[in-house]
């Protein structure tokens, strides 16, 4: 009986959480971003979040079938090319069921940042993503700064301002 009620409460929390995450860009309580080490989609060496400590990192969860994701990838590549020298990096975590779909899709893009794959889907679970695309901005201290759910053409302009602010902080 009690167990059932607990389960129901947990269910309610699960329903509310994505609702909160679903609102576009809001501040998070300073919390360390869950670490991960994932293989690159092209088979070269793995990338770990911890190795990028000291940089501002944009972690982007995407799939080839998600239309707004495909808007985000090239837009964020421009920002990355401009701000990489100042300490900005993007990691795009691909969540396609079939890696071949992702690779075929990327052939049409020329992206400068690492694209990694997570076949076990442990990172989207750890980051509790509620929809596609969802991206997280991580500051130089390795803490979650904000969530960006969804992506509309032109959104990178707003993100660029936030990223430039974060770049001015010292670790």
């Amino acid at each position: 009986m009690m167990h059932k009620r607990l389960r129901r409460i947990r269910l309610h929390l699960l329903l509310i959480l994505p609702m909160l995450l679903g609102s576009i860009s809001f501040g998070l309580q300073a919390a360390p971003a869950p670490d991960f080490t994932l293989p690159r989609l092209d088979g070269s060496e793995s990338v770990s979040l911890a190795s990028l400590r000291g940089k501002v990192v944009y972690v982007d969860f995407w799939a080839s079938w998600c239309a707004p994701c495909t808007v985000a990838l090239p837009e964020m590549d421009k920002v990355r090319r401009d701000l990489h020298a100042r300490g900005f990096e993007v990691i795009a975590i691909n969540l396609d069921e079939s890696e071949a779909d992702a690779i075929r899709f990327l052939q049409r893009m020329n992206l400068s940042y690492p694209i990694v794959t997570d076949p076990a889907k442990s990172t989207p679970t750890a980051y509790k993503i509620a929809g596609m695309p969802t991206a997280f901005l991580i500051d130089r201290r390795g803490e979650l700064h904000s969530t960006h759910a969804g992506f509309r053409p032109g959104d990178s302009a707003k993100l660029r301002l936030t990223i430039e602010q974060l770049l001015q902080e010292t670790p």
Binding site: G22, A63, W65, P68, E97, S98, G131, T134, G150
Partner: protein
């Protein structure tokens, strides 16, 4: 025979009561263009227009929901 035609409706109702959780990143198949409620709106509008003008019945549902689930 007539009762048989109600079967799909009953099946769907039954199906609605059981569900497994589908994560946001597991919607690649649902996002396919061949899984849309209306795969070809222009052509289907023409078809519906013809059916409605040759048959006694008309009406239906709009087609929201399902699919990609993208923001």
């Amino acid at each position: 025979m007539k009762k048989l035609l109600l079967l799909p409706f009953v099946l769907v109702l039954a199906a609605c009561t059981t569900t497994e959780s589908v994560q946001p990143w597991e919607r690649g198949q649902l996002a396919r263009t061949d899984m849309a409620w209306n795969t070809d709106p222009l052509h289907n509008a023409m078809r519906e227009h013809v059916y409605t003008s040759k048959e006694g019945a008309s009406g239906g549902l709009s087609t929201g929901g399902g699919g990609c689930g993208c923001y």
